[in-house]
């Protein structure tokens, strides 16, 4: 055990910090769930790419830095500490990208990864369907091979597709074997959102912005070359992606450490010093954020030493999402009457509160995560 940074890690941190200090926009960008904000975030991503900071954990040949997980965590700490914008590229760089690196063909890697790293192509995810939410294996959107076998013909409907309102491409799973059921006979397919036959209908979220959308597929033709990980393997490819999302990459600890530091500043500025209940609650949040950071460092060390992260990654997802809600609830409590305002100096806390409420729902509800933990970590019998 050595909880100090090596000279190499310190140098990497210093390099990231210096670049971010010189380049992070002075003013916060508008939400990336608006047309204008989306493009401004794309420009920011392009700038990150120029500094070779957009996908630090990717191989250098695709625009990354071959950074190991520890360095990735260090970068994340510096990124969120610097006040840099949220990552509109999340679905691609942190979810699909690692999956393509793992299971993609050489042609797919060359075609998709560099454009993803540059954010020339921003990705939406299309997994859920109206009748396949928590029960994702009941997917019904179909993929049928064309007569000459060169194209998939897609039909059906996806919903809650995050970033789909403005994104360029999407990835999703489709039932390509009509005789199959549940986890079998599904295939992971990539396609541009402007393919003929695709209709995107944005859905206004709780915060009024359009971060997600419905996607309708009406005889959408996609080359079979856009199959990721082989026909019929869609479920395991999607689970690899989802596992990575829950495990490490979706919400790195730094953003919570930074949010809790803001909460502490708010408490010091406007909190009632005699309110011990609030003081204890703020301290609990600090311990949770710190605990999550330490837990992640333990997980990452395990990965670097050749270990694997399995279903226990579901613990992370519950932990950070509940913590995020709690931090924002406390901030609003501190803000008192200002917590009711959607404009003004504290807008970020109110926006953040609304956003935090999606955490226990997306990427598999926390109830589904509890089932996974019970079944696969605690080895309780399947229901």
């Amino acid at each position: 055990m050595d909880l100090t940074e090596t000279p190499d890690e310190q140098a990497f941190r210093a390099e990231a910090r210096a670049w971010l200090e010189a380049n992070v926009p002075a003013e916060p960008l508008p939400s990336f769930d608006t047309a204008e904000g989306f493009e401004l975030h794309r420009q920011w991503e392009a700038k990150l790419y120029e500094g070779r900071w957009s996908a630090v954990s990717w191989p250098a040949e695709y625009g990354g830095r071959d950074a190991d997980y520890l360095k990735w965590l260090i970068f994340e700490e510096e990124y969120w500490r610097s006040g840099a914008p949220g990552r509109v590229s999340q679905n691609g760089i942190f979810l699909l990208g690692p999956t393509i690196i793992e299971v993609g063909t050489p042609e797919q890697k060359a075609r998709f990864l560099p454009a993803m790293a540059r954010s020339d192509e921003i990705w939406a995810q299309a997994w859920s369907e109206p009748d396949a939410g928590s029960d994702m294996a009941s997917i019904r959107s179909k993929g049928t091979l064309s007569a000459d076998g060169s194209e998939w013909i897609l039909n059906g409907q996806k919903i809650w597709a995050s970033r789909a309102a403005w994104a360029d491409w999407c990835f999703g799973i489709f039932r390509t074997d009509p005789e199959s059921s549940r986890h079998k006979g599904l295939t992971f397919i990539l396609m541009p959102l402007d393919t003929p036959g695709i209709t995107v209908r944005p859905i206004a979220q709780l915060d009024g912005d359009t971060g997600f959308a419905e996607i309708f597929f009406d005889d959408v033709r996609v080359p079979v070359e856009n199959t990721l990980g082989g026909v019929g393997n869609g479920w395991s490819v999607a689970m690899a992606t989802a596992g990575f999302e829950r495990g490490v990459s979706l919400r790195s600890p730094a953003r919570f450490n930074v949010a809790v530091e803001r909460l502490i500043k708010l408490w010091i500025r406007i909190g009632d010093p005699d309110d011990d209940t609030m003081r204890d609650a703020v301290t609990d949040l600090w311990m949770q954020a710190e605990g999550y950071r330490l837990h992640t460092y333990m997980t990452v060390t395990k990965l670097l030493e050749g270990g694997h992260v399995g279903s226990e990654s579901s613990l992370n997802k519950i932990f950070w999402s509940e913590m995020d809600v709690r931090a924002h609830e406390l901030a609003l409590q501190l803000l008192g009457p200002d917590a009711e305002r959607m404009d003004g100096a504290h807008q970020r806390w109110v926006d953040g509160f609304l956003f935090s409420l999606s955490g226990p729902i997306y990427a598999g509800t926390n109830e589904i995560q509890r089932n996974i933990i019970a079944d696969r970590v605690l080895n309780l019998p399947r229901g």
């Binding site: 010091i268 837990h295 333990m298 109830e367 309780l380």
Partner: protein
């Protein structure tokens, strides 16, 4: 940056776990309870032989020369087995306070057990087992021989941790050249590590029961109400774990944040143990509420150690002072 234990540390902990699974089962623990001694000389001798008791003593005192990072997994294993008597007190608090003294070799060979009451405790545990009790005297630590003191037993909830009130402690004994706060932190951290092991054990017992017990024609562990109860308890335990391990690092390296980190560990481990005990009992239903059910042996240890060395509330306040500034 490397947040893991080395091969030797892991192997030593695994060896201790195997030994305890073989030689100190719940039936043995129940035997100690029924003996009324709060102590098991046979397992104590084994721990001395293995070098567990002397891990934190310098080699010049006949010890293994380890630090808290070398020790924390061992304490966790002792907690998993709920080993009775002043075991973590002796091997951490005792070893730290008595290094270089004439008692040190006795700690190493198992002949001197040590208990402590450094935080103004009304009831002192293990005085009829320990040869020495460590007391706080202003900012110093004083060692007194228990044989010289008047003790009056009180009945505790955990029969592996007998309690007494002490009198005749105002004078005498030997002042030790140690920092009181460092020794208190060692006790708080060791109790946190012990609670971590204890919590994992309670969840394991509950898991076994949930797989075995059938109602409505199926194992109760297949019901979501039971699954979620246990998943939430596991969540508490698994997020206390890195806090305990980090505190061991901070103690071993004398970090500026040592007291804050130890307090975070004890606060989270105490709350995790509370949740694990409560959930394990609820999973068992009525059978868990019986004297015969072994779960009680572990729950009662948890209930005794959650407040020992400062409860979650006290330690949370210590973290508050460090993070938010003194009140």
């Amino acid at each position: 940056m490397k947040f893991s234990f080395n091969h030797d540390q892991q192997q030593f902990a695994a060896g201790l776990r195997e030994m305890l699974e073989r030689e100190f089962t719940a039936a043995h623990l129940r035997g100690v309870w029924e003996s009324g001694t709060g102590h098991d000389p046979a397992v104590w001798a084994r721990l001395a032989d293995m070098g567990v008791l002397s891990m934190m003593l310098p080699e010049s005192d006949g010890g293994m020369g380890g630090d808290f990072v070398d020790t924390v997994l061992l304490v966790e294993e002792l907690g998993r087995a709920a080993v009775p008597g002043p075991v973590f007190e002796t091997m951490t608090v005792g070893a730290l306070a008595l290094r270089g003294t004439t008692w040190a070799s006795g700690v190493a060979d198992g002949s001197v057990a040590v208990t402590a009451a450094l935080m103004g405790e009304r009831y002192v545990p293990h005085t009829d087992v320990a040869a020495l009790v460590l007391l706080a005297d202003h900012q110093s630590v004083r060692a007194l021989e228990t044989a010289q003191l008047q003790t009056e037993s009180v009945e505790g909830i955990d029969h592996g941790r007998r309690l007494a009130t002490l009198s005749g402690t105002d004078s005498g004994g030997h002042f030790l050249a140690v920092d009181l706060n460092e020794v208190i932190d060692a006790g708080a951290l060791a109790s946190a590590a012990y609670l971590l092991g204890l919590s994992s054990r309670m969840l394991a017992i509950a898991g076994d029961y949930a797989r075995d017990r059938r109602q409505f024609g199926q194992p109760i562990g297949s019901f979501q109400a039971v699954k979620h109860l246990m998943a939430d308890a596991l969540l508490k335990v698994e997020f206390a774990r890195p806090a305990v391990y980090r505190a061991a690092w901070s103690h071993a390296t004398g970090a500026d944040t040592r007291s804050r980190d130890v307090s975070m560990a004890k606060a989270l481990a105490s709350e995790a143990a509370q949740k694990a005990a409560r959930s394990a009992l609820q999973v068992h239903g009525a059978i868990g509420y019986t004297w015969e059910c072994d779960l009680q042996l572990f729950m009662k240890k948890a209930w005794a150690l959650m407040p020992a060395w400062g409860n979650a509330s006290l330690h949370r306040r210590r973290v508050s002072d460090a993070v938010l500034g003194q009140r």
